[in-house]
């Protein structure tokens, strides 16, 4: 090495003291516990929630199987894997990696290093095991029936072993709007305070820790400084505001930054205000069930009648009126954002064709439907369908039921729906197409009960569930959905938009910056939402 080389080496080399100083400076930048280097976590954000806030939504162990707890769990808790952005279920969160055996009989997860709960305790495999084994919410019985054992391999590794191939394990575990089995709670603390105590003062491993709670009214969070991802906003408040007009007024005044559940009549006020941003998140599907179509005496038994009904529905008009045109009129009754959900082209609106089919089917003057009953509170949607069916001579009366009564009658089977009846369902179910089918179509399904019984399609579902090969599974899933659509066993109406709005303080170029995920209608991930400079 010549003199020039030595000079160069000396100019870039650091002394031992300088190295130490640099090291200390770098360490000082890093939060403890392996947390991510965050920018300045400052400011505050308020979400105006649209119903009362139940403390049970803060406890993943009591997950009710709906999308609602998602909004709270994603702030307070974290899961091994979860839905995130466009990742349906397998985004690695507390688990830095996982392996799922090819035979579907075990799954192994490796936890991130240095992750903590809000009380400073480390997240351990023991916590994961406790959370899974003591889970008692939606689909708990499915997990319990299929799981042989949960083994703690080492201080960061945990393995789930199954009695039989459990191909949907990851999908279910990671679908936060289907089940809470994948969310991890601190075992020691949970056992110490009990389920009710936990609901009052929950501790999680999520980006926000609880600061204060007024049951049903307000929840205040504070950024968790040791979260493994940067959390942008320091204080976060969720406040329950049941009245939509009040929520909107709060957004207009800057008292709230994000609001949910805007009814159609208020949408224009957001659209016309340049400071606000509308966030129409594509959400649940609505469809018609023609009750008793398998009975030869029912007018719906004739496929041409079912087709005529489908052709008589002006889906675009319903979408315009009900979702300000921001829903989707094409598609399957099953949302296509679930696994193996089959995309389906837009269904035709053609009254001439519909009338011709009714004539061919022997109903030139139509017929009378005793009742058309929509899911509460979507009565106006039912009213529109009633009006549209008149164009082909189908005379129906609208039956309005309170939601609880509606669900009770749905779940009581066909004896609750005598005569000629149409039910207008609406649902948003996560995970996989099979969850929709099992609930609303399968003979003996929770919501289908005995109203629909097509053994050949149910047999295909059974084959699908017992198969461990993805290709035939996909094929079977599509075959079943195609059969339903081709035969008009169910008549899709539209997918409505869950209307939300964003206030001027939130940094967002487009609404998808705050609502990027396709699996939930709520803003998420909370830690990524930023305020404007």
């Amino acid at each position: 090495m010549g003199a020039e080389g030595r000079r160069l080496r000396n100019s870039i080399a650091l002394t031992r003291r300088e190295m130490l100083a640099a090291g200390v400076a770098m360490m000082a930048q890093l939060p403890a516990g392996g947390a991510a280097t965050a920018g300045a976590t400052t400011g505050s954000m308020t979400l105006a929630w649209h119903t009362a806030m139940a403390p049970r939504w803060l406890d993943p162990q009591d997950h009710d199987g709906t999308a609602t707890p998602d909004n709270f769990l994603t702030a307070l808790h974290d899961a091994l894997i979860k839905n995130f952005g466009t990742e349906l279920y397998d985004h690695r969160s507390l688990a830095e990696r996982y392996e799922f055996d090819k035979d579907g009989k075990s799954a192994t997860f490796w936890l991130r290093d240095g992750i903590q709960f809000h009380n400073g305790d480390p997240v351990t495999p023991e916590d994961v095991k406790f959370s899974y084994e003591s889970y008692r919410g939606a689909l708990a019985s499915t997990f319990k029936a299929k799981t042989e054992a949960v083994d703690i391999v080492d201080r960061r590794t945990i393995r789930f072993r199954f009695k039989e191939p459990f191909l949907d394990f990851l999908l279910l575990l990671g679908s936060g709007n289907v089940t809470g089995a994948g969310w991890v709670v601190p075992a020691k603390y949970y056992q110490q305070v009990g389920p009710d105590g936990f609901k009052r003062k929950p501790i999680g491993a999520g980006p926000y820790k609880l600061a204060a709670i007024e049951p049903g009214v307000k929840i205040q969070f504070e950024a968790f400084e040791n979260y493994y991802r940067p959390v942008q906003i320091k204080n976060f408040t969720m406040v329950a505001v049941p009245e939509a007009a009040t929520r909107l007024a709060m957004l207009e005044r800057g008292e709230a930054d994000i609001i949910y559940g805007l009814p159609g009549e208020l949408v224009d006020r957001v659209k016309n205000n340049p400071k606000l941003m509308l966030a129409p998140v594509l959400s649940g599907s609505f469809w018609l069930e023609l009750v008793g179509f398998q009975d030869p005496k029912s007018p719906f038994h004739d496929k041409r009648v079912r087709q005529a009904i489908s052709l008589a529905i002006n889906r675009a008009a319903i979408n315009d009126a009900e979702s300000a045109g921001l829903g989707r009129v094409s598609g399957n009754w099953i949302n296509d954002d679930v696994q193996f959900g089959l995309p389906w082209p837009e269904l035709e609106f053609n009254l001439e064709k519909a009338r011709a089919l009714m004539r061919e089917a022997g109903h030139p003057n139509g017929f009378t439907v005793d009742w058309l009953t929509p899911l509460a509170p979507f009565y106006s949607r039912g009213e529109r369908v009633v009006a549209q069916l008149q164009a082909i001579g189908i005379r129906a009366k609208l039956q309005v039921m309170e939601r609880g009564v509606f669900l009770q009658r749905i779940q009581a089977g066909i004896r609750q729906w005598p005569g000629v009846q149409i039910i207008m369902h609406g649902a948003r179910i996560g995970g996989t197409w099979a969850n929709w089918y099992e609930s609303f179509f399968k003979c003996g399904g929770f919501n289908a009960v005995d109203r629909v019984c097509l053994p050949e399609l149910d047999a295909k579902l059974d084959r699908y569930k017992s198969s461990i090969d993805p290709a035939p599974r996909k094929e079977l899933a599509e075959e079943v959905q195609r059969a339903i659509m081709d035969n008009c066993y169910l008549v899709p109406v539209f997918r409505h938009a869950f209307m939300n709005a964003i206030g001027p303080r939130i940094a967002a170029h487009k609404w998808q910056d705050v609502f990027p995920t396709i699996t939930t209608g709520y803003a998420y991930p909370w830690e990524d939402i930023k305020l404007k400079e």
Binding site: T51, A52, A54, P55, R56, H63, D64, G65, T66, G137, A138, L139, S141, P195, D196, K199, R200, E214, P215, G216, V217, K218, V239, A240, V241, P242, E243, A245, T246, A249, M250, E252, R253, E255, E402, R403, G404, V405, L407, Q408, Q411, A427, I429, N435, E438, S439, F446, N447
Partner: protein
Amino acid sequence: MRQFIIRRTCYSLITLLILSLTIFTVVRLTGDPATLMAEPGARAEDLARVRSQWGLDRPWPVQYAQFVQNILAGNLGISFNYRMPVSELYFERLPNSLQLALAATTLSFLIGIPAGLLSAVRVDGAWDQVGKVIALLGLSVPGFWLGLVLILIFSVWLEWLPTGGKNDWHNIVMPALALGWYFAASLLRLTRSSMLEVMRSEYIKLARLKGLPGYVVIAKHGFKNALVPVLTLAGVNLVVMVNAAVVIEVVFAWPGIGRLLYEGIFQRDFPLVQGVVVLAGIMIVLVNLVIDILYAFIDPRIRLTR
């Protein structure tokens, strides 16, 4: 007097028993809460587990007996939705409702009584017509509409007051006005009619004949006597405002008992609805009992009535 108090207390207890039976039956007629508490994909055994967990699988008479026994022990049950004792939830919200009700009562006094007085003194005159319009609007304008209009004007357009919630005194102004407005109208009407009745009485004529100044006749002899039924109504109104300001509390996101009741009904939370209604009933019955006893003290003839 002792017999009178015992008799009235028995009537009050019977009223509460009927109330508890009515609310117990009515909430159950709305259907099975298990379907709302279990997950949508729940199987029959999951629903049965939920029913058993909350004692909903037992016969109604057994459930009712348990309910009454619990009330007597001061236990209103555990809310299905909040998983917390109903009494804890109720008493957590009670100060908020009391605050709102007191503010609304004060406002209704400030509007209703002077306007009623003026209407009675200037009967069929311009002030009386204004009073009639205020009473008509107060009783016919729905609270939710008035609330939303107030929000639009004072929060959105003028930006003077916050929209909803409960932080400081600014938050109470609009809900108190919207709630007090209706009760102001009823106070106005009662003050007016009561004053008219009193002003037609013999002792007022005597006071005038004695040459007392008009304002003394109105203030000292008229208004003082006309105020008795008005205060009685105000007392009952206050209890109603505490427990049943459902619409106003929902519109203004005010965390009171009315909103708690609304949430309970919406979620088919039997223990919560039963608890709130029974506590409200106890309050109303107690207020009425106290008023009855006070009347009996003042007017001995009442003690003799059956």
